[in-house]
Symmetry: C2
Subunit: 274 residues, 2 copies
């Protein structure tokens, strides 16, 4: 997905290496980024910078609506998004559907500070295909859906296609919100433009693109599509609630960086807002 | 400066390789980032992403004051900052002091779209040591000084030290502004904290840190120190002017991303605002 360049982390020790039903899974201890999870050769998270991705993909949608009660996570088998969702006291039910059970097991074994999210009693874990799961969801069930997928080559391919977004839209209540991983403005503007165009057809509330810095992702940035369904309007750029993080300080997210993440470089703005 | 990791670009062809009086200079054609300038093994710019760095380091200071007339650039031998300064019609005089004449020659030969900045008739080029140059500047000469340096190991070392910032302060008019390259929040928080602390002692106007995305810099981000001297107050976070870019559209900078660049992740905010 990013020809002509490579980002390498120095390996101290390989801790785990196995092929699951869906992908190759590697965990290694790096010299400067802590432990690293790799799926099909692509870095998914490092202990040093996972905060940026997990906090942003979770709090961008959940701080944009007043009282989320039911939240669905598609993918996110490492548990980091669950850990962040659990900061929201209004939430009563957190469902997660991860396709690869081995990712969950590996995370619990090697990344306890990430997998801690599975310990929240509000969490219901379903190992299975997110696309199939969504088809069986009663219409209008969720306040928020977070799609924490890998890239559109491999098991996550369908999570970037129109039928998937249609199922998301149906599963959300009126004025409900979705946040999906949406690649890099530096490397994948063509994929982003396609996703934006699909989302504009499907989501009648608002459709926005935000981005943040994650050093170990290609080009050092990752983006998010944030959309809302028809209903009470959602102004994603201005969070309606803050997070009390006295006990467990947020490492990355705050209200200012929430709003700032929607400001795009001119080249991306022109492509997306066209 | 970033142990345990490497970012590699695929080389199509090495175009230039020579040792100047100060450093090793390499220019190569990459497969996906265009031509690349490398000093002492560190990527300085690629044709694909140089817009982010050059536009931000220039317009963050120059759009924060109403009518900059005299601008000094320290370093910046590739000419990219000059190219951006030249967009500001109020500017009457652009001085540049670059230590390594070979960088200027190489840029003119291989990066004409960057080195085009040297063609502006307002530009006066001085090849020499920026530290020595500043000592001879008449007090209060410049409205803005931009320090486009390489990292604090090698010829740019002094540009990160207290006496240098003191000379900058003297060379600026009351309410004048400086913008210096100031490393990565992900990799060099200790260097940044030191620079911030030094700047707080010296600049009695305001002291701010901003950052932006540059994929080919380590960790994918680069920061800037923005300070003003005692005098008319400068609110860096809210630009006071915009750029008419109808003829030559800006690729990266816009007023929104200007303000957004001052919003820091919580971990950096805590360290810097302490």
């Amino acid at each position: 997905m990013w020809p002509g360049e490579a980002h390498s982390l120095k390996v101290k020790e390989i801790l785990f290496q196995e092929k699951s039903e869906y992908q190759n899974i590697i965990v290694f201890e790096s010299t400067t980024y802590g432990k690293v999870l790799v799926l099909d050769g692509v870095i998914q998270l490092t202990e040093r910078d996972e905060c940026a991705y997990q906090e942003m993909i979770t709090h961008l949608p959940l701080c944009s609506i007043p009282n989320p009660k039911k939240v669905l996570v598609i993918g996110g088998g490492d548990g980091g998004v669950l850990r962040e969702v659990s900061r929201h006291s209004s939430v009563e039910q957190i469902d997660i559907c991860e396709i690869d059970g081995m990712v969950v097991d590996v995370s619990k074994r090697f990344f306890p500070k990430v997998a801690v999210g599975f310990e929240d009693p509000r969490v219901n874990v379903k190992i299975g295909d997110g696309v199939a799961f969504l088809k069986n969801v009663v219409e209008g069930t969720y306040d928020a859906i977070i799609v924490d997928s890998s890239d559109p080559i491999g098991p996550a391919q369908e999570l970037f296609e129109k039928p998937f977004f249609e199922s998301i839209e149906k599963a959300l209540r009126p004025g409900g919100v979705v946040c999906t991983q949406a690649e890099s403005i530096w490397l994948h503007m063509h994929i982003i433009e396609e996703i934006v165009s699909v989302c504009r057809q499907i989501f009648k509330g608002s459709v926005n693109y935000a981005w943040t810095t994650v050093p170990t992702y290609p080009s050092g940035v990752i983006g998010f599509m944030l959309c809302s369904t028809e209903g009470p309007p959602v102004d994603f750029k201005h969070p309606v609630k803050s997070i009390n993080d006295n006990e467990r300080p947020l490492k990355f997210y705050n209200a200012e960086i929430h709003s700032a993440s929607f400001c795009l470089p001119s080249f991306a703005k022109r492509a997306i807002e066209m």
